[in-house]
Structure formats: structure tokens, C-alpha cells
Symmetry: C3
Subunit: 164 residues, 3 copies
């Protein structure tokens, strides 16, 4: 648990230059939402769907960040600011991924089962970007703020504007 | 009242594949905001403007969805996720309309009286789309995620990107 | 203090045609967030960084508007609706600026020290616009809804779409 706090603190200090005091991490919406997500995801895996969803809704009300309990999230994940972030049920996020506020990892409404994106290692996604459908964002890619991504992105790409 | 719940449940099950248990509907932000909207709209029609606005602000604080009490909304309306949705005072929404999170049905700041959009039957509006001004979105149209719409959309259209 | 209320009321009546009763101003998210910001900014200037951040987070939870306590804001500032607004630490906002909901005055992640925008007098920024980096938006400019601005904007400009 202490290790988790230490890791998160290290991560936030690396990624957000606006932090002045270590204790500020307890004010980060991501700090709260991540703890709720851990509980909700555990409940989801044990098929307590209602309770899982309840925790994710409480987290959303407190932080503006909506992570469906079914989403699978790797190590060193971080969301800055966070209001308006929506992460769908079948999303897979690998290691060292960073999102800004307003990012949607959502569906197109046309797919069944795996209908949300897969985000590979070391990806950064800018504010307000929309990543929709069962697509893969390749390793080390950067998705610019406000981008709309509707198909697979190869590794090491930088995407701006509409990509379909 | 029970009919209302049943209808809403049917609607959500149709439109959101992420629902696992019926009871989850009470966690949907839309479920809450819609009840508040009904009260606020009733008060607005009876010229209790302050109280109407109060209910809509409480709803917004709880759900992230802001529906002005003056907006007129038809049957089978549904908002998925919802954070960041803003629906202006003179908006008219007809039947079977679906919005995703981050949609704005707003004004351009240049018009008086009817200054917000009219949405016809069976329209779907994707995440983060901005529909601005006293324009009409025609029947059966689909507005893509992140689209910016500033003029009338004919029926049966699919709109992506900027449309002005 | 009474003068502050009077000014704000005059401002809101000028800028938002949806207000019906004067007393409605106490329901405006901006009314709340602005009071919190004043306290947070005072604390920030006196290097009480944790407490400053705490107040700005409380304000964000109550209104959906995130103003970093370090931001410098001039007279006659107004934010309509507000959910999803993010204003970064080194942002400078001069007089008579208006923002709509979903506006980001943020960083690109590449700059140090002054890494957020400067907004000159009489600027209006539409819903969902992203203004990123240490750039200046010139006097009397209008930034359209959903615009993405990544470089300096000369005075008296109207910007739509991506500007980089």
C-alpha cells in the first residue's frame, strides 16, 4: 500500500509540473478514482456487477472520471485533471499510459463484445481526444488534444485531427 | 410511474450493452437527471424560475448533465454517460433521440428568443458534438462524435467534422 | 462585497439571456467557483499551496470548473455553464474575458515555467475549445467552439478549427 502511494507520487511528480507539495497527491482526482477503480474491478471480476458499478458511479460523482469496472488497466497509468474522461467496459490499457481530461475510450455502437480500444505501452492521449471502437493505439504513440481516432494507429505515431 | 421505470429500463437495455443487472438503472446519471428535469420543467412552466433552476443545478452537480428547465424533451430520450452535456433553454428534442457525453445543444450568442437547436425524431448525437444556434437536425440523422454543426442538417444525414 | 455581487449580476445579465430572476446568480457555477478561486489564489500567493489546491479541488467538485490557484484573472471574467473547464497554473487572463463550458487553457507538456496561455482583453472562447501552450490570444479575438489553438492569435481574429 505504501509502495502504491510512493509509486503514484513519483509518477505524478514526473508528469505534472503544477504539484508543489507531496501531500497534494491526496487532492488529485486520479488518486481517488484509482482506489475506487481497484475495488470496482475486483467486484466486477467476482461478478458483483451492481456493487462494482455503484463504486464506479460514486467515483465519477466525486471526480468527473468514469472508468467502467470492467476495463483492464496496467501499471503507471495516470489521468491529469480528469473531468469528462470516459473509459468503456472492454477497454484494455497497458503500462505507462497517460490521459488528459475529456478523453473518451469508447464504442461506436456498432460492435459487440470487445467494442472499446486497446492502448499499448507508453501512449499519451491529449485533452478531449475521442478514441472509438475496437482499435489498437500502438506503442509510444501520441494522440493530440481534440483528435478523433476511428482506426488502428501504428506504433510511434503522432496523430492530430480526424483519423479514420 | 412503474411504466416509466419499465420504459427506461427497456430503453437502456436496448442502447447500452454495458448493463449487466436491471437494478443498475438506478445508478445511471440519466435516470437521476431525467427525474430532476421533469420536476424542473414543471416548475418552469408555472414560472417558478428560481426553483426550477435550483433543481436543474442540483441535477447537474450530481450527474454532470445540465438540462435547462425550459428545454422541451419528447419520448424515449436517453443520454449515455453524460458528463459535460449542456442543453439550452429553447432546445426542442423530439422522440427517440440519443446523446452521448459531452454533447452541447447550445446557442451562438447572436440570436434572441429561440436560440438553441431543434432535434427531430430518431437522431443520435456522438460524444463531444457541438450543435449551436437555432438550427434543425433532421429525422434519422447521425451526428458523429466531435462534430461541430452550425447549420440545418437534412433528414437521414450522417455528419462528421465541421458542418457550417 | 455588495459591489462584487452587483457587478457579477450585471455581467451575467449582459451575457446570459437564460437568466430570469436576479437571485438565480447564486445558482451559477461561476459564482461559486469565483469565490473559491479568490480564496485559493490568496493562499497560493502566500505559499499555502496545499490549502490553495484544496479549495480549488472543492470548487471543482462542486462546479466541474478547475481553476488552478496560481492562475491570474482580471476584471469582468465570466464562465457560462462551466463543466470541464480547466485553467492551468501559469495562465494569465486579462479583463472582460468570457469562456464557455469545456474550454481548456492548458499546457503542451513541452514547456517549463510559463507553460499556459495568456488571454488579452475582450476575448470570447467558445465551448470545448482547447488553447494549449505559452501562447497569447490577442485583444477582441473570438475563438470558435471546438477550436484547437496551438500558436499566437493576433488581435481582432476569429478562429475556427485547428490553428497551429
Amino acid at each position: 500500500m505504501i509502495k502504491f502511494f510512493k509509486n503514484l507520487l513519483k509518477l505524478i511528480k514526473e508528469k505534472d509540473p503544477a504539484i508543489h507539495r507531496n501531500i497534494e497527491i491526496i487532492l488529485y482526482p486520479f488518486f481517488k478514482v484509482y482506489i475506487y477503480y481497484k475495488i470496482a474491478h475486483f467486484l466486477y471480476l467476482h461478478k458483483c456487477f451492481f456493487l462494482a458499478r455503484y463504486f464506479s458511479e460514486v467515483a465519477k460523482k466525486r471526480t468527473g472520471i468514469e472508468i467502467h469496472p470492467g476495463a483492464v488497466i496496467g501499471k503507471d497509468f495516470f489521468i491529469d485533471h480528469g473531468t469528462g474522461v470516459v473509459i468503456g467496459e472492454t477497454t484494455i490499457i497497458k503500462d505507462n499510459v497517460m490521459l488528459y481530461h475529456g478523453v473518451t475510450l469508447g464504442g461506436t455502437g456498432k460492435e459487440k463484445n470487445k467494442r472499446h480500444p486497446t492502448i499499448e505501452n507508453n501512449v499519451t492521449i491529449g485533452a478531449g481526444a475521442l478514441i472509438l471502437g475496437n482499435i489498437t493505439i500502438g506503442t509510444n504513440s501520441i494522440i493530440g488534444a481534440g483528435a478523433i481516432v476511428l482506426r488502428d494507429v501504428p506504433p510511434n505515431s503522432t496523430i492530430v485531427g480526424v483519423y479514420k
